[in-house]
Subunit: 156 residues, 2 copies
């Protein structure tokens, strides 16, 4: 089981955009250069965030992405679902059905699947409790400062 890199990239990009706090968009190229990741693939991940209405995209010259939500309204769960999709990691394929269980058994949910779903619910709850605003506070102030300086250099 492995989460795609897009989640990490997406979260860091959201944090960067939040710190800059400007409505002027930043291009994929600048962000990719900043983080040292392949530009076109980063673009693909950011597109997923746009579809989820987490980012807003602007086409054309001087285009790019900016945050579409307030940091305290944006949770980690939102980003994870946007990039990785809404499906649960564990998917019950109901192999118990092959055992020839009775109709009465079939009506009840599979106990194993239930336990797995419960665990994932705990995971989602934890992710939902973390907003981007929380991280902005936790992270060292120097990081925010550095990000803003970088932006001033590359904005043009």
């Amino acid at each position: 089981m492995r989460m795609g890199e897009g989640v990490e990239w997406g979260l860091h990009c959201c944090l960067t955009l939040a710190w800059i706090g400007d409505q002027e968009p930043i291009s994929t190229a600048k962000l990719a250069e900043h983080f040292g990741v392949p530009p076109t693939y980063l673009n693909k991940c950011l597109q997923a965030l746009v579809r989820a209405e987490i980012l807003r995209s602007v086409s054309g010259a001087r285009g790019g992405f900016c945050l579409a939500k307030r940091p305290d309204e944006l949770t980690f769960l939102d980003v994870v679902i946007a990039v990785e999709g809404p499906d649960a990691a564990f998917r019950c394929t109901e192999i118990r059905q092959n055992e020839g269980c009775s109709r009465d058994e079939k009506r009840r949910p599979c106990a194993i699947a239930g336990a797995m779903q419960e665990a994932e619910e705990a995971w989602r709850t934890a992710l939902k409790a973390q907003t981007l605003a929380d991280i902005m506070q936790k992270a060292p102030a120097a990081a925010a400062e550095r990000t803003r300086r970088w932006y001033q250099e590359v904005r043009r």
Copy 2:
């Protein structure tokens, strides 16, 4: 992000073995037939459980697998780790390092990675709290009964 099917299969196999509660091993072929899954691949998954000392395997004719732990000592987390490996789903690649952050920043753990790890810890905690014995109680008694009847038919 997607968990392999082996986890579901492994859990159902453990449950079946626990219900039968016999020390006589059951072959992959019988279990695979029972669940309607490819036998050789199921075998591969069960091997992973053997390596984790969750199952015990017996080679040769009349060989197969049996449970190596008491059901109340076997957690869902054990099975998941055995099949999927011990690595976390989210892996921080420290892309922030590329931003040119100071030595002081580098010493602190990445706040984003921290939040993700915290969420996974909640997930693991939930999985650790679920033992096989718990599931044996939750599941309908009819299922246990049916499993034992099936075993009496195929044991020879």
